[in-house]
Symmetry: C2
Subunit: 446 residues, 2 copies
């Protein structure tokens, strides 16, 4: 038997911490459902060839073997590393029966063979929402999905979440207009701005044969940031003063469409959750498949954690095309891990029980159980003392668990003691109710 | 890219079916919490040497490899095949901080490399409850845990669940008394009674050198079944008339203790959920580690599915000893799969939305979104029509999804139509509420 020890990259929470995680998941689900997003759940495994389709991610995949095959993997199945790959397969499989546009949320664990570090795990929960259309998807859904996510995150006991948003059409139109031909490669370089700085990006772009004037222009574009549509004037100015290719009409049209999209997104997000969004034109998001709005969200004061939610608009969820959509994904475990470590939130107690019914002696256990059942019948989480020890010991039992009330059975009904204040009053198990904040464990800030 | 097709043994549900699964999980959680069982969540992986500790299960373990290691497994980690192994490790790791007796529920997926068949999957949800003590655990908790589970299963939209219960002390005392030395081996044979019949069991016992008189006695014991404590007289009679070993005082004492335990269990279970329990002395449960009450539960009319919930009392959760407990585990996916296939239950709709707010034209989308937000502010799941198509099309959109109400914005407030009855009435988005049964999708029987 191996020594018992935590595995790096596989976080687990104490019962009290798990209440925080459950609260986060439930609140996200609640807000998603309030906006019409129903939940699905997919299997944890996919054929490896599907998982490996995205070559960038391939290195992170866990494959499955069988112990009775001598530990040999047949490597045909692997654990999903995100919820997009299984969702795409789910939609492809059920395209004949799903109703489009199809809205879903999905909250499950994913696995990645990455080197564990702060906020980066090998097994973690993600919470995704997507809207997927059949053949077409109205642009206003890019705003709607962002609003749903902004509200869901706002419902959590964490500091304000700020969405940094951009639009791929804006970027592509601009890049093309100033003479960049391999837009995807240039985007991947700009995506490293925070890591390697403007000089590093310029060096990479030079290696891609991007003209110096274009590099200058797109680095200037990446500096533009605004909390409202004032970014439009800045982009327009930069566009007018940049050296453009001769035939830039199509690029300009794409740029204009992107500006409209980004304006609608920033205004829509800030309209729904004031101050939650900033147009940040450096947001590139390396993945090739985004084609419209892109989002990256950070917790204020915890930007060092990296993005806790990201996503974007894509042309097709399914390889063959025809399923345009927009989606966002929350790194639940990353967020919860920070909430716990930085003590952003805590649970008021570690157990569901609001009441411990004391047991006078073992012969009277049934009477105590009867009282517990009468409380439970009215939805009050209750447990019965496991032993008929002295009342002091039974109170200690409740105290150690954070159970706020102890019920002492008596001739008529009995008495209930708030063990925090020491107050003890006669009470009827068919009528007494704990004050609302004590009914269930709550998650509170700080 | 591989063809898209379901994987045998990895069930997935449609959005409407997933509502049934979610309902089952939530109801179990609700009843568990009402009785003081808080939830924990453990990582999906464990060191293989821990998983393989139980040699019987070893053949079913999925090991993890890494794709970048050429598909080779290092076979040091595997996916858990139940929730007991990770729970034992969790308790061992946290024995210094957990409060004992520790009650927990745990509802997660587990993986087994078994050949898939009806009710047997490779990836499935289990829902476990356990109470674990430190050094000791009062026997009445064997009744309590059974009662909690009986109530949790009773809360589900399924036919009555019947617990077949037995007691290992009763069986062991009896077996020893009639001259069986290797009780565990005999138990494993009796456990096959349904599969190989009394003659098959007798043959196996003969191979174990069990005397014919003993075989006769324990096969007679396995026939005893009663819905109340009337089994006691039958056991006593059989004991008195069986050929016993000369020095059977200790065995008789063990038998007597087991009879007390089983009496308390049957009476306790039937007291809490009338008719839910039957003392069934053929219930052996192959696993060696049970030492007191054992439980196997079946859905009435669906006995062919096999047990949907089982468990028992054990001397120690942790290999080193010192953590006696009692627990029960529900095969959630097995149960849900039957609920869906046999149409035992269905969801009243496939989406959370109770209301679709129609959009008059795209310019008026914001007004519709505002109405939706006013409804959501009062907890009414609402979505806005994705297009401003003709109202007929928008009604069709709602109809296809099962959204019961369509809201038509108007000068003053607007009107709401129940698209099932066709009734349409003026309504105020700050006051109107759908009738309670329509607020959320419900899971109904049949």
């Amino acid at each position: 038997m191996s020594r018992v020890q935590p595995l790096s990259g596989y976080p687990e929470w104490s019962p009290q911490e798990r209440i925080i995680e459950t609260h986060v998941i439930r609140e996200l689900e609640r807000v998603f459902a309030l906006h019409g997003f129903g939940g699905i759940d997919t299997r944890a495994v996919e054929p490896v060839e599907r998982l490996a389709g995205d070559s960038e991610a391939a290195k992170e995949i866990y494959t499955l073997g069988r112990l009775n095959a001598g530990g040999e993997a047949d490597a045909t199945l692997g654990l999903h590393f995100d919820l997009t790959v299984p969702f795409a397969r789910y939609v492809e499989e059920r395209q004949g029966t799903l109703q489009f546009p199809f809205k879903r949320h999905q909250i499950q664990k994913v696995w990645r063979g990455e080197r564990p570090q702060e906020g980066r795990f090998r097994e973690f929960y993600q919470a995704d929402i997507d809207v997927v259309g059949r053949d077409s998807l109205p642009a206003h859904l890019e705003v709607e999905v962002g609003v749903v996510m902004a509200r869901a995150l706002q419902a959590l006991p964490i500091p304000a979440v700020r969405f940094h948003v951009n639009n791929r059409m804006l970027v592509e139109g601009f890049y093309r207009g100033v003479g960049i031909t391999d837009v995807a490669a240039a985007l991947r370089s700009v995506d490293k701005l925070d890591k390697i700085g403007p000089d590093g990006v310029a060096k990479e772009l030079a290696a891609q044969s991007v003209p110096g004037t274009a590099t200058e222009a797109i680095l200037a574009l990446a500096q533009i940031k605004a909390e409202d549509s004032s970014f439009v004037a800045a982009v327009d100015d930069l566009w007018e003063t940049s050296i453009r290719v001769e035939d830039h009409a199509a690029a300009q049209e794409q740029l204009a469409q992107g500006i409209l999209g980004l304006t609608a997104l920033v205004d829509g997000l800030n309209g729904a959750v004031p101050g939650c969004a900033v147009a940040d034109l450096r947001i590139a998001r390396g993945l090739d498949y985004y084609t419209g709005s892109v989002y990256e969200a950070f917790v204020e004061g915890h930007e060092d954690l990296g993005s806790i939610c990201s996503g974007g608009r894509y042309d097709s969820l399914v390889a063959g095309g025809g399923f345009p959509g927009v989606g966002l994904s929350v790194g639940v475990t990353r967020l919860v891990s920070r909430m716990i470590k930085a003590e952003l939130a805590s649970a008021t107690r570690a157990v569901p029980s609001a009441v411990l019914v004391a047991v006078v002696d073992e012969a009277a256990r049934e009477a105590s159980a009867g009282i517990a059942d009468r409380l439970r019948a009215r939805g009050i989480p209750t447990e019965v003392s496991p032993t008929a020890a002295k009342f002091g010991k039974q109170i200690q039992y409740a105290d150690r668990r954070g159970i706020p009330f102890v019920w002492f059975p008596g001739e008529a009904h009995g008495e209930v003691k708030d063990i925090r204040s020491g107050d003890q009053v006669p009470a009827d198990p068919d009528a007494w109710t704990p004050p609302d904040p004590d009914l269930h464990p709550r998650v509170v800030t700080g």
